[in-house]
Subunit: 378 residues, 2 copies
């Protein structure tokens, strides 16, 4: 096995697959990065058993300056190998394997020899031969992920809640996550897709995947087998295991009616919540209180900590209607929810001080809803 | 006490004195930030008992938009107070103290009330009435600090070595630090200063101070009393305690003669050392080896780790003279030393494989020297 390559192209590939490589794995060979050289490409693979990433560097793309002299494959210690390639002195580098698994990496007058491992011992990636593929533009898919993963549970007590529930049915894709204190639900119409899926994808896998979706808005393709999902972005394949079990029925959690409605600028409300949480974070029961006076169209937020002090702020609202209300909630849930909206107007709808309330975009209300359960303070 | 101010000016002052405030102090009031309002300025103070910083915001500088309605002083919990001021919604803010120590901070429609402490309980800053002051341009002083603190000891076993030894004598300022494995010495001529000083300033204080010296190259003034040093930068005063005790005599440590001399580009050598240390870091005795063949004008660096592999690189040298040599050393000491030189040519002079070697700039060799003790590997 021997090739020379432009170092920056190679580094990009190494960085991509390194996302899946953990030094904490219990399977020693998975601390390595697998390199396979064929007649016309290099294939890099990284895996932590839950997530596997494979990416290809093509010789046909002249920008890679890839010259292959000999095919073969090897597994190299990922952390060192990556460190070495990044520190090499020249723009180009050569890698060759000889004497079994001894790998020589040269660039300029610098020459590294490192011990590799047999690529035959590296686990095989799952095979996914489902014909039905979901294809979405990168920015939409990234938005779906970022709007739902905020609500996945961080606790392993109910493992199923650490995932996002994806359902494809009636040409509509639903993504829902809840940690039982809050819920995020996103819908996207897929008019050309008649498939049916019902899977739970680990939130941690989706967060990693989201970081790999670049801003050039390349399509993301998604394919599902019995216990694995495969995402394809350009030359890169991202595999994740699925969570097994039945996801709770979340459809009945979202209230259909409301008593009090307020319209906010999401970015401005976020600023107010951040200020109020400075003090609530210091008190034992991290809550802020919203006081809605519908007659005066006045909404006030307050937070306090017996040790430090208190804060009160009158909020700038666009519309207030319905009943007066006092409601307390965890400001951190609210911050996560508001960040997922970005810069937009939102409608917040309340029923009573102890019933969950919802946030939806003022336009396109059907497609995205966040639900937050209040906190009892009396 | 009451004033209103442009928030960005106030934040700058808070950030400056916060450098000295630690939440880990054993003196509770020192977790606070002291505010004193006089007729024409606000004085902010922060301290961790070892280092104290005081800065002034003048009403006469219109850019501060400072309007003082009532003088007074208060101590506010530094971390919250800083967090609150940074998060306020408007460009301007108002602060007022009433009801004893209750402090109200308002900006836009946001209003915080926090509990302050009695400023009379805050420790007094030391008085330093030494007439003799050293004045140096900011960039020179920053360079002196950064070139010497790298060699201070991180271990408390010999506390005196955690400081930098400053000596002013014969119109020359010497700064020396050593952790007994390496040494850095910098000299600066002060032709107008006939004072005499001999003090040891904690390296940690100097590192903090260095971060406060901005790039606009304002002068730094230094004044010394029995157990304190005061640095003045513009409107800011930086106090540090001095280390007590006698600093070891370092003058005889620097070899006068050498057997082997090599000239390097400091930046290129740094790159080579960084590569070699990738492997040395993985071995138990973190060393790299330099092999100098004076006849062939060839210098090679190598590093190896039995578990991972090895690296060898021929170095680009400008001049090689004297005897052949093989010498091993800790690459981390070398990296620190080379970074302190920046982009310049340096002369490295060796006597024997077990004697310390020196690095000096190829130009201006007298003013800066770094010394590194090699490691015995046989």
């Amino acid at each position: 096995m021997k090739f020379s390559i432009k170092r920056s192209s190679f580094i990009q590939g190494i960085n991509t697959v390194s996302r899946a490589i953990s030094s904490k794995t219990t399977i020693p060979i998975l601390t390595g990065l697998k390199l396979t050289v064929t007649d016309n490409e290099i294939i890099l693979t990284g895996s932590d058993a839950d997530v596997s990433i494979e990416t290809q560097i093509q010789a046909s793309d002249e920008d890679n300056e890839l010259e292959i002299s000999e095919t073969g494959s090897i597994v190299l210690p990922a952390r060192f190998f990556s460190g070495i390639v990044k520190k090499l002195p020249n723009d180009k580098m050569t890698l060759s394997v000889s004497n079994g698994f001894q790998t020589e990496i040269t660039s300029g007058s610098s020459s590294f020899t490192i011990n590799g491992l047999d690529a035959n011992d590296y686990p095989h990636l799952p095979e996914i031969d489902n014909e039905n593929e979901i294809s979405l533009s990168g920015d939409v898919f990234k938005e779906i992920i970022n709007q739902t993963v905020i609500a996945v549970s961080k606790q392993e007590s109910r493992p199923i809640l650490t995932g996002v529930h994806f359902v494809l049915k009636d040409q509509m894709l639903f993504a829902v996550a809840t940690d039982s204190h809050r819920l995020s639900q996103r819908k996207v119409a897929l008019p050309d897709n008649n498939g049916e899926y019902d899977v739970i994808i680990p939130g941690s896998s989706l967060s990693e995947l989201s970081k790999m979706i670049s801003d050039d808005n390349e399509d993301v393709k998604m394919k599902i087998s019995e216990n694995q999902v495969l995402f394809t972005i350009g030359n890169t394949y991202f595999y994740s295991r699925l969570l097994e079990g039945a996801y709770p029925d979340t459809s009945r959690l979202i209230p259909k009616e409301s008593e009090t409605n307020v319209q906010f600028d999401a970015r401005e409300l976020l600023g107010s919540i951040e200020r109020a949480s400075l003090l609530s974070h210091e008190s034992r029961n991290n809550v802020v209180k919203l006081t809605i006076n519908a007659n005066d169209k006045k909404v006030t937020i307050s937070g306090n900590s017996p040790d430090v002090g208190n804060v009160e702020e009158e909020l700038d609202t666009k519309e207030v209607s319905g009943e007066d209300l006092e409601i307390s909630f965890n400001p951190d849930y609210m911050k996560d929810a508001l960040r997922a909206f970005g810069q937009t107007m939102i409608n917040v709808s309340f029923t009573s001080p102890l019933r969950p309330f919802t946030l939806v975009p003022s336009e396109d209300q059907e497609n995205f809803v966040e639900l937050i359960t209040p906190v009892r303070t009396f």
